[in-house]
């Protein structure tokens, strides 16, 4: 019989007290594991895994707002860019891919108020996150916005509304709780597989369809002002744009239909009247992204941001602190559990004085009885810790589908956080610390007195 098996016997003898103290440790560790799993999922969702583009280009303003609105779709956009600026980007030798996006509408409140994203098919032909391409959940789906009123929906949107290919819906203008419903009916041509990104709770429409919706085109005079404002320093581009505006004015003077009136008859919306909210850009070289970013800093009304940096800043300065606070809080729960182990063992010491005396009379050294008590507290701490670790990960696995359906977060229940690698050494130290005083009591036990007690 080794010291651990002797300690284990003692733990079993005080079954109820041992179970309760180990359970308190298990509870603390379980909470910590769940917090770490969720933190890992949040971290993953807001970091490199979230987008496979080098730059997001949008109207000048807060870089964080641009990323939150265009990547995470949780904030209103800053302002729009002229569609003609997209052509300019596409013709830039540094740009490999430039994908336009237009936001501002939502599915109806009863359909979850999910954001509408007007874009082109290129969006689905590129990786949404490094190394991962969009896949269709429904084999009937095409992943292509072929027709004007086609729609591709994210997994969460489809799940929430039980939508499938062929289903139709209408959307509202302006905000998620708006009652201003557009007349156009959109048909689902594809349901995307879950990605664990904001794409899961987005609805993608044909960009051209967005322009024909009521209220999406600005009056010609306002467009002219906005072009002036945007291209003020770039006379060549401003003149080209104004020339197009002039043509539109002449058409209007002759009583011809322009803009959304024209779309109803299958005519293209004039480029000068189109706007986009943001552009996802992949550059040819890493340096190209830096060059484009710094170029736009000077004098342009657009800005280019690295989609990772503002979020990292947010995570570090805000979310990171909350996560750390939660980890510290759960850590404190574990420490309190450790103290309960101390109290439990320490209280049992007076009852066990005779036992210790017997062991010593049988030849156990002081260090042996010291080690037995220390082993007991360590067994309780580690046993409770291991149980809590398994329950924590088990719960994460069990609840992952539910959390994913509700929040879009992809929980990897068995993903190990680096903190977990220090958890068990810390528990070992904690077990030794809380067992030290009772172990010293055992060490100092007077055998002769203990045997006659």
């Amino acid at each position: 019989m080794n010291l651990f098996s002797i300690a284990w016997k003692s733990v079993k003898q005080r079954k109820v007290a041992s179970l309760l103290t180990a359970f308190s440790v298990a509870l603390g560790v379980m909470l910590m594991v769940v917090v770490l799993v969720i933190a890992g999922a949040v971290d993953g969702a807001f970091n490199q895994r979230s987008i496979a583009y080098d730059l997001i280009i949008g109207a000048k303003g807060s870089d964080l707002q641009l990323v939150l609105s265009s990547v995470y779709r949780v904030q209103p956009p800053i302002a729009n860019l002229p569609y003609m600026y997209l052509d300019q980007l596409r013709n830039d030798r540094r740009v490999e891919t430039a994908i336009p996006l237009a936001f501002g509408d939502f599915t109806k409140p009863e359909h979850g108020g999910f954001p509408i994203v007007g874009t082109t098919n290129e969006y689905f032909l590129n990786e949404y996150t490094p190394g991962k391409m969009f896949e269709v959940a429904d084999q009937a789906g095409t992943r292509q916005l072929s027709e004007l009123y086609d729609a591709v929906v994210g997994s969460q949107v489809a799940h929430k509304n039980s939508w499938k290919v062929g289903d139709q819906f209408t959307i509202v203008h302006g905000s998620a709780d708006s009652e201003d419903t557009h007349d156009e009916m959109f048909t689902i041509v594809s349901v995307l597989r879950q990605t664990g990104t904001p794409n899961d709770r987005s609805v993608f429409l044909n960009l051209e369809a967005v322009y024909i919706l009521d209220g999406h085109q600005k009056p010609i005079d306002e467009v002219e002002t906005r072009l002036n404002d945007f291209y003020g320093n770039d006379k060549e581009r401003l003149n080209a744009a104004l020339m197009q505006m002039e043509e539109l004015k002449q058409k209007r003077a002759k009583g011809q239909e322009i803009g959304d009136q024209a779309m109803g008859y299958g005519l293209d919306t004039p480029e000068a009247m189109k706007e986009i909210t943001a552009v996802y850009v992949k550059t040819r070289e890493v340096f190209d992204a830096i060059s484009l970013q710094s170029e736009l800093k000077n004098g342009s009304k657009a800005m280019a941001v690295n989609p990772i940096r503002p979020i990292k800043r947010l995570m570090t300065n805000f979310v990171g602190h909350i996560q750390s606070a939660l980890v510290v809080l759960t850590g404190m729960i574990i420490v309190v559990s450790g103290i309960s182990i101390f109290v439990s063992i320490y209280n049992s010491m007076s009852d066990r004085r005779r036992e210790i005396g017997i062991m010593r009379a049988l030849g156990a050294r002081r260090t042996s009885v010291f080690s037995i008590i220390l082993a007991e507290s360590t067994v309780l701490c580690m046993g409770g810790g291991l149980t809590g670790w398994l329950i924590g990960h088990g719960l994460s696995v069990a609840f992952a589908p539910y959390v994913s359906a509700r929040t879009g977060l992809l929980l990897d229940g068995w993903a190990l956080n680096p903190w977990e690698f220090v958890l068990f050494p810390v528990l070992l130290v904690l077990g030794a610390l809380v067992g030290f005083l009772p172990a010293m009591t055992a060490y100092r036990t007077n055998v002769a007195d203990a045997l006659t007690s």
Binding site: K9, M359, L362, R366, T367, V447
Partner: protein
């Protein structure tokens, strides 16, 4: 010689700071395999004597030779190991560990000796005391007599040179008294183990060939005469 006490003195420090002499033994010896009963009045120093012989307590002075080795000057940790290897103990109150089965209680005695456990020998000891069907029983599930028999088996687990028995029959019924007494004496004889049994019951002491009265060879007052307290 299995046990030799020479000029052994032991006193306790009282809360007042004075020393209370308890033992003062000029010479006491037991030959290898010898069996002796030791009788003495309550508070006469019997338990202190057993604690000194077993090395649980160190004497203030003198020699305590067990199986040829003077353990008095040894540090506590060496005395502990020596006790585990050379001395068996049978207590008045059995002192079995309640969480452990009969077999585990015997194995526990072996595990502290540093020589490893011999499960087969532990089982054979329990068979020898008639508990082959009680190996997996914890003390709570055994009668008083059975518990004391486990205690006897445990005391022999490390093949000791000396067995110290402290009133082993005091808490058992008359039927079991004989059984346990015979068991201890017979197993000691079979294994050539020296036996020193402390008792206050003369009917028990009278069954031994050698009966020593502690008061006859213990004179603490004389031993501490002239020693500053």
């Amino acid at each position: 010689m299995s046990l030799l006490l020479e000029n052994v003195r032991k006193s306790y420090k009282e809360p007042s700071g004075n020393r209370l002499p308890v033992l003062g033994i000029a010479r006491y010896e037991l030959a290898q395999g010898e069996q002796a009963a030791l009788v003495g009045s309550s508070g006469g120093g019997k338990t202190t004597l057993l604690n000194v012989i077993s090395g649980i307590l160190a004497p203030d002075s003198g020699k305590v030779v067990v199986d040829g080795k003077d353990i008095a000057p040894l540090p506590e940790v060496v005395r502990d190991r020596f006790r585990a290897a050379k001395i068996g103990f049978v207590f008045q109150t059995f002192n079995l560990l309640p969480a452990f089965t009969a077999l585990e209680n015997v194995l526990l005695g072996m595990s502290f000796s540093g020589r490893g456990v011999d499960r087969a020998f532990a089982i054979s000891l329990l068979e020898r005391v008639g508990l082959e069907k009680r190996l997996d029983h914890t003390p709570q599930r055994m009668s008083v007599g059975e518990q004391q028999r486990v205690s006897v088996a445990r005391s022999l687990a490390n093949k000791p040179a000396l067995l110290l028995a402290d009133e082993p029959t005091a808490n058992v019924d008359p039927a079991n008294q004989d059984l346990i007494l015979n068991l201890i004496r017979d197993t000691c004889k079979e294994n050539n183990v020296t036996l020193l049994m402390v008792t206050h019951a003369m009917e028990v002491a009278n069954r031994f060939d050698r009966l020593d009265k502690l008061a006859n060879f213990n004179d603490p007052q004389a031993a501490y005469q002239g020693v500053a307290s």
